[in-house]
């Protein structure tokens, strides 16, 4: 019931005075500000932005009904429109015409994130002409045509601005079209058609999301997911991009303040804003990731989905934990591979950034930006802390399976040429020792599956009393290490009597104390 929904309204909506006979409410999509204008401004204008701290209040003369009111960035300049053809600026400033374009326009839409305006042209209204605003210039982009379900004869306006929404998905601009089909037996129901609008080049239809229902819809984009609200059934579903995927319906949670869900007074704004003017609330639509885990049975596809979401780390890690309980090794392997692919990409980006800054050169004159580490980058420390260390302690899983899972992770890291951290090897050794699988341990070491290192060599030495071959293996490992000539002296200096104390490794003239983790001492003590 309540726990299954994965979309919710933000906990603390922006509250403003609701629309009434004396109060008009306006919303500026660019700055995401709500203007509550009382009595035309005479008794006060309250402006609330995304953070309540930005609340601004002022008065202005009532010079007639306000049609539209906006602030510039930083609330420096106020613009008020009272008539159809004029805009007033209370402060005296100079205005300069930069560019003008003459086109027959039915309606327009503006996307503030990308600074692109979309104009509906032609009689039918389905030929859209975009313009991009950049650095004080206005550039004409290539126009494109929206496919209408029915070509009206005679031609009339068939595309309204309510059917179109612009959104940024994965950093790319898309134009979403809500295509309604007439209700017939064969009708597929409504569809959302996505047109990809690249900076340069032509606009192309890229995806079609089938909704299998008809009626009134509204669109939002949250965390790169296309959310479709269906009013009559009071549900919302989501489709992530790219790759169509049927997200089942979900009901948003009860917000902390009383309000009517899906009321007809709700207005939806891009990308993720829902406003109820009649009640005075502005909500941000949010995704709750944990319930989405049940949407996809195929863990591979689930990982693909989660890796694209913003706050995915803990959910991914919990999926890993769960899948190791029940899933089979191939599934576990696939999950690890997907995660390590993302991890590897991040490591490579970091590496090339480090190399570029070190050498002082930058490619093509543009300074390289430090790669951002998203939550989707799950590194070995994450996996060890949240998944593997507790997994290896489980009593309800066979030790064979535990080792198989850890080895699968090591295999995956090797496949992506990621250096395996020594604590993972220690985990393997610990599990093998605890289950008396010494012959297995020996074979892993023989084939250098557990890479040689000094800490590992000393760990092996601590096992000597329970497993004599460990002595030989550790000497081999030290020989391969950085101070091979000292090994001779080392082998004679090993203090065989005290296993409890930290091992003193005499290497050459120096004595290094290498602390053996508690687990090991515990283990070797119990096995003696």
């Amino acid at each position: 019931m309540a726990e299954e929904h994965y979309l919710e309204l933000s906990e603390n909506p922006v509250q403003f005075e609701h629309a009434s006979s004396v109060n008009n409410v306006f919303f500026d999509e660019a700055n995401k500000q709500v203007f509550a204008v009382r009595s035309g401004g005479a008794t006060g204008v309250v402006v609330k932005g995304p953070d309540d701290k930005c609340s601004v209040a002022f008065r202005m003369d009532d010079k007639g009904e306000v049609k539209c009111i906006k602030f510039s960035i930083g609330n420096k300049i106020l613009a008020v429109q009272r008539t159809l053809k004029s805009v007033v600026f209370p402060d005296k400033r100079s205005l300069k015409l930069l560019k003008s374009q003459s086109i027959n326009v039915n309606w327009y839409q503006y996307c503030p994130e990308t600074a692109v305006i979309l104009l509906s042209t032609t009689v039918q209204g389905n030929v859209l002409q975009p313009f991009a605003f950049r650095n004080g210039t206005m550039t004409k982009m290539s126009k494109f045509e929206i496919e209408l379900p029915v070509i009206p004869k005679p031609a009339k306006l068939s595309l309204s601005e309510r059917d179109i929404a612009m959104a940024t998905i994965y950093g790319q601009l898309y134009v979403m079209y809500l295509k309604h089909h007439s209700r017939t037996v064969n009708s597929p129901g409504a569809e959302v058609v996505l047109y990809h609008l690249p900076r340069d080049g032509t606009c192309k239809k890229s995806h079609v999301l089938k909704l299998n229902m008809t009626g009134k819809f509204a669109l939002n984009i949250v965390d790169n997911l296309v959310v479709v609200h269906h009013q009559s059934s009071q549900v919302s579903g989501s489709e992530p991009e790219p790759g169509p995927f049927s997200g089942p319906a979900a009901v948003p949670t009860q917000p902390p303040v009383p309000c009517q869900l899906y009321s007809s007074s709700w207005s939806v704004f891009q990308p993720d804003i829902i406003i109820s003017a009649s009640e005075g609330y502005l909500w941000y639509l949010q995704v709750k990731l944990p319930p989405t885990v049940h949407l996809l049975q195929d863990k591979g596809k689930l990982m693909d989905f989660l890796l694209r979401r913003r706050d995915c780390k803990m959910v991914i890690l919990s999926v890993c934990s769960q899948s190791q309980e029940k899933a089979s090794l191939p599934v576990v392997a696939t999950v690890f591979d997907k995660l390590n692919q993302v991890y590897k990409e991040y490591l490579e980006a970091e590496q090339s950034y480090a190399a570029a800054t070190e050498s002082g050169t930058s490619r093509g004159g543009a300074a390289q930006k430090r790669p951002v580490r998203t939550q989707a980058v799950i590194d070995q420390s994450d996996m060890y802390t949240h998944v593997l260390s507790s997994f290896t302690e489980r009593k309800d899983v066979t030790h064979k399976f535990i080792i198989a899972v850890v080895m699968e992770y090591i295999r995956s890291l090797n496949q992506y040429q990621i250096t395996v951290q020594h604590y993972l090897y220690e985990l393997v050794i610990k599990t093998l020792v605890q289950n008396n699988l010494f012959y297995m341990l020996h074979q892993f070491l023989q084939y250098h599956v557990l890479s040689d290192s000094k800490p590992l060599a000393c760990l092996l030495l601590s096992l000597e009393s329970t497993y004599p071959p460990a002595h030989q293996l550790s000497l081999d490992m030290l020989k391969v290490g950085p101070e091979p000539d000292r090994v001779g002296r080392y082998s004679h200096a090993v203090n065989r009597s005290s296993r409890e104390a930290p091992l003193n490794c005499h290497l050459g003239n120096t004595t290094e104390k290498i602390a053996i983790p508690d687990d090991f001492n515990k283990v070797s003590r119990t096995l003696r």
Partner: protein
């Protein structure tokens, strides 16, 4: 040119092999009951009793001097007898005729025979006897188990059935140091491919939960063993000297040869069963898997041995013998393992070729050496060539092999690390090195070499061929 009469060298050969238990016929007139197996069987009954009695007496007698360690062998001029007590009161005795040289005599007298007593080593043939028992035990379990299951009659039956065939495969003339070691040759592999094989084994064991243990081999060399060392050691010997050679000849046969194995008709993979069903398509065909005994927490457990091969890769799957293996199970295994194993086999082959190309000709064995590690039973020999059931060719004079054996005996006497350098005949030098649990034997052939030079050469060898192994200098 002499009249054609030349020295004839006779290699050691098996004179007799018998198994007895003195407690089965302790009283007078009951001696025959002690004998559980005797080869050659056509020997007259009284002679058998006499020979057994002699061994029994010798063992008893020597026990007075050393109760804990009875006699191991008896040296006489013409032959040598080896005694081995694998289980309490059960004795295995092998009598080997010493190598000899028949020198033609002038004047028409019968040729003089010179017995070369010192040429055969106790350690070598003692190891052979032990191996006979291990092999029997692998397929039949202990003597005690047979006794429990069906008394003396069953034991006699089993011994007869097994040793009659097995003794025919013994080639005592080619036994040497490697028999003392009873080691396993491991296939060199890079980490990534090794992990892939691990992954494969784990997944198969997960899908087919009946499988208890798996072993993975490539090209007659071991890569992974899920069995304990001692069990794997004898299984490995069986696979490499008996099972694989039996099946490789048909593989090498021409396309139209009648020897060519039945193609299962499955073009998706090259996997096939080496034990069990030879033709999965025939529903009528009966099949069975050989059963083996391996050590378990409480004594022994009996397992079906499934050996499945694709190209040069072989996987052994061991399943508890209490389970009945059906045709459906075999088909399931075939469809699951076949494609994966085929893929793995070609991966391994590719990696191996790449590695060979990288390491280049420098690693080509210019040195003749034998290496053995007691810890993991890993052995490597550049002296021995193609190993089959029938013959194990060595590229080295048997006299030199004897020197190696002598050095090994010396090593066995003490625990400490040692190095022994021997100047052999002509320009041969033999170096034996023992460090920790490892033994290395190198044979060098250098004109005008001396101790220092030889020492340097061996050091060089250790640095190049064994650079990741720690040898105390």
């Amino acid at each position: 040119m002499a009249s054609g009469a030349q020295e004839k060298q006779y290699t050691p050969s098996l004179l007799s092999f018998f198994i007895y238990n003195p407690t089965f016929g302790p009283r007078e007139g009951e001696e025959e009951k002690k004998i559980l197996f005797y080869h050659p069987s056509e020997v007259e009954k009284n002679e058998k009793i006499r020979n057994v009695g002699l061994c029994e007496a010798i063992v008893q007698f020597t026990r007075t001097f050393c109760p804990t360690k009875p006699a191991k062998s008896l040296h006489t001029q013409k032959n040598r007898q080896f005694f081995f007590e694998p289980e309490e009161h059960f004795w295995i005795v092998m009598v080997v005729r010493n190598p000899m040289i028949e020198k033609p005599n002038k004047d028409g007298k019968p040729p003089a025979i010179e017995y070369q007593e010192e040429e055969i080593l106790d350690t070598v043939y003692g190891a052979v006897v032990r191996q006979c028992y291990s092999m029997y035990k692998l397929f039949n379990g202990t003597f005690g188990r047979a006794m429990e299951a069906g008394g003396v009659e069953l034991l006699i039956q089993k011994l007869e059935k097994f040793f009659y065939r097995y003794l025919q495969t013994l080639h005592l003339q080619s036994c040497d140091l490697l028999d003392v070691f009873g080691g396993i040759s491991f296939f060199p592999l890079d980490k990534m491919t090794y992990l892939k094989i691990q992954s494969f084994v784990n997944r198969v064991e997960e899908s087919l939960s009946l499988i208890k243990y798996t072993a993975f081999l490539y090209n007659d060399q071991l890569i992974w063993s899920g069995l304990e060392q001692d069990d794997m050691r004898i299984l490995y010997k069986y696979l490499t000297t008996s099972l694989f050679p039996r099946h490789s000849e048909p593989e090498l046969a021409g396309r139209d040869s009648p020897l060519r194995p039945e193609v299962t008709g499955n073009l998706l993979h090259y996997g096939r069963f080496l034990t069990g069903p030879t033709n999965l398509k025939d529903p009528e065909a009966k099949f069975r898997f050989p059963k083996i005994f391996v050590s378990a927490e409480e004594g022994y457990e009996e397992l079906h041995l499934i050996v499945y091969k694709a190209m040069s890769a072989a996987a052994c799957f061991m399943i508890s013998a209490t389970v009945e293996l059906t045709r459906e199970f075999c088909e399931q295994l075939d469809s699951l393992v076949g494609p994966q194993l085929t893929l793995l086999a070609s991966d391994i082959c590719e990696q191996f070729t790449i590695n060979r190309r990288i390491s280049g000709p420098e690693k080509e064995p210019q040195f003749k050496f034998i290496y053995f590690n007691h810890m993991n039973l890993a052995e490597k020999s550049t002296i021995h060539m193609r190993k089959t059931a029938s013959v194990c060719l060595t590229s080295v004079h048997p006299d030199l092999m004897k020197i190696l054996g002598d050095i090994n005996c010396d090593f066995a006497r003490f625990d400490e690390d040692e190095e022994i350098i021997v100047k052999a005949m002509t320009d041969y030098w033999v170096v034996g090195k023992k460090s920790d649990q490892r033994e290395l034997y190198v044979i060098l052939n250098q004109k005008n070499a001396n101790l220092i030079l030889v020492n340097e050469e061996v050091k060089r060898l250790c640095a190049t061929q064994f650079n990741n192994i720690f040898f105390l200098d």
